[in-house]
Amino acid sequence: MTTATAPRAARFGAFVPALLLLVVFFAGPLLWAVYSAFTDVALTGSAEVNFIGVDNFTTMWHDAQFWNSLWLTLVFVVGSAVIGQNTLGLLIALLLRGRNAGTRGVVSGLVIAAWTVPEVVAGFCWYSYLHRDGTLNGILGWVGLDQNWLYTTPMLAVILANVWRGTAFSMLVYQAALNDVPPELHEAAAMDGASAWQRLRSVTLPLIRRSIVSNLMLITLQTLAAFGLIYVMTKGGPGTKSSTTPIYMYQESFQFYKLGYGTAMALVLLVIGAIFSLIYVRLIKVDNL
C-alpha cells in the first residue's frame, strides 16, 4: 500500500519528539519503579537510599492491609465496571434502540453528562447525594431507610458513584455495536417466533461479542487505578473499609513517606494492568495495525 520512495527521515525522524517524550517521561519512571521497588527510598529527605532486595515485597506479602486493599480493588472493579457499567450500559443501549429522538436525547444526555463531569466534581455530587443530610436520605427518609451511607456501606457508595460516572462509555460502545447489527436478522428471528429474550441471547449478543470483550477490557483498565473519586468521597475510610490499592499506595507513599514500599505496590498494579492490556492488544486484529 505504500511507496518505496519513503525517505528515511520521514520513517524515523518523525518519531523523535514522541519517542523522546515517551522514553524520558513514561518509560523512564517505569524503569525507575522497577529499581526503587527494591530500595528503601523515603520521603523524609534522608539522602541515603539502600538496596534492600525483595524486602518490600516480603513486607507486602505479610501486610494484611495490602491484601485487604487488593480485595477491595477487585470488588470495586467487578462491582462497578464489569457488572455495573457494562450491564447497565448494554441495557440502556438496548432499551434506547428505536425510541423517539426525545427519549434518546434525555436519557443518553443525562448518562453522558455524568461522564463529562470532572472526577472531583463527580465525587462532590455523590458525597452530598449520599451524605447523612443528603438528597438520597431525603427521599429514603419517607420510608425510614435513611442512613449514613458513606459510613455504613462505603464500598457500595463508591461503586454506585463509579457506575454513575462510567456507564456512558459502555453505553456508547454498545450503541455503536448495535447499529451494526442488521435489523433483518431480528425480524427473521421474530418471524420464527423467538421471544425478545431469545433474540437477545442467540442473535444480538453473539454478534456484538467482540465489542463486549473489548469493552470489558477497557473499563477494567480504566477502573483499576481509580483514585480521585474514592479519595474525595471516603478517603479510603472509614478506617480502611474503602481503601483500594491506589488509595493505600498513596497513603503509604505520601502520608507515611514510604516511597519504596509505595512503588512496590505500584509495580503490582502495573503488572495487573499490563496483563489486561496485553489481552486487549491481542484482541485487536493484527491486520488493523
Binding site: M1, T5, A6, R11, P17, A18, L19, L21, L22, V24, F25, G28, P29, L30, A33, S36, T103, V106, V107, I112, A113, A114, T116, V117, P118, V120, V121, C125, S128, H131, G134, T135, L136, G138, V173, Q175, A176, A196, R199, R210, S211, V213, L218, L221, A225, F227, M249, L259, T263, A266, L269, L270, A274, S277, Y280, V281, I284, K285, N288, L289
Partner: protein, 276 residues
Amino acid sequence: MTGPRRGPMRLAAYLVLALVAISFFLPFLWLIVASIQPGAALSADISWQFSWENFGEVLNAETIFRPVLNSLIISGGTALITVFAATLAAYPLSRYRSRFGRLFLYGILFSTGLPITAVMVPVYTMYSQFELTDSVPALILFMAASSLPFAIWMMKNFMDSVPVELEEAAWTDGAGWLQSLRRIILPLMVPGLTVVFVFTFVTQWGNFFVPFILLQSPDSQPASVTIYTFFSTYGQVAYGQLAAFAILYTLPVVLLYTAMSRVFGGAFSLTGAVKG
C-alpha cells in the same frame, strides 16, 4: 429487544428508562440547587430563595480566576505538545509499513492500558531526584507523554483516511515529506486534529491526581486541585460556594463536549478507541 407494538413490554421499557434518567439526574440536583441558594447546606432542601451570591463570592482571582488560568495553561500546553508529537509520529505509522512502526504501534496500544495512577509514585520519586517537582513545564511534559499513546492511536486512524494518492502528486512535484504533511494532509485533517486536541484538553482539565502529586505551591495548581482544597477546607461551611465553584469549573468541559458532539456526532471521544 422489544417489538414496537407490544404494549406491556413497551411500557416496561419506558419505565426502566425513566428510572435510569431519574437516577442519573438526582446526584446533580444538589449541585444545581445549592449553587443558587444563599447559605446552602448539604441537603438539597429547596428554600425558594434564589441568588447569584455564591457565584459572586467565588468569582475572584484567588478562588477561581488564577486556578482556571493555570488549568488553561496546563491543559492547553499539554494538548498542543501532544497534538504536535502525535501528528509527526502518526505520519510514518500511517504511510509506511515497517517492523519498527509495527512494534511501536503495539507498544502504543499496550501503554494506553497502563494505569497512570500507579506510575505516579515512581514519577514523583524521579522528579524529586531531579528537582522537577512543583514545576509546571515538567508537569506538562509528563502529562503530554501520558496522553501520547492514545493520541497517536487516534491520529493514525484519522490519517489513514486521507488518501495517499493526493500526496504522490506532491512528491512528483518534488515536495518533501514534511511539506506534503503540512500542505496536503494537515488541512484535510483539521477535524481529526481538533478531536485529538479537545480530547486531550478535556481529559487533562479533569485530571486531579497528577497535579495533586507533582505541584505543591497553591499558586500554580489547576482548578481540579484547588477545588479539592476548597472542599476539604471550607466545604463543610460553604457548600453553596463549593457548588458554584464546581459548576464554573465543569462548564467549559460540558460546553466543549456539546460543541464537539454537535460537529462530529455523538461519540466523538470514542474515535478509534474500540476497534475490536
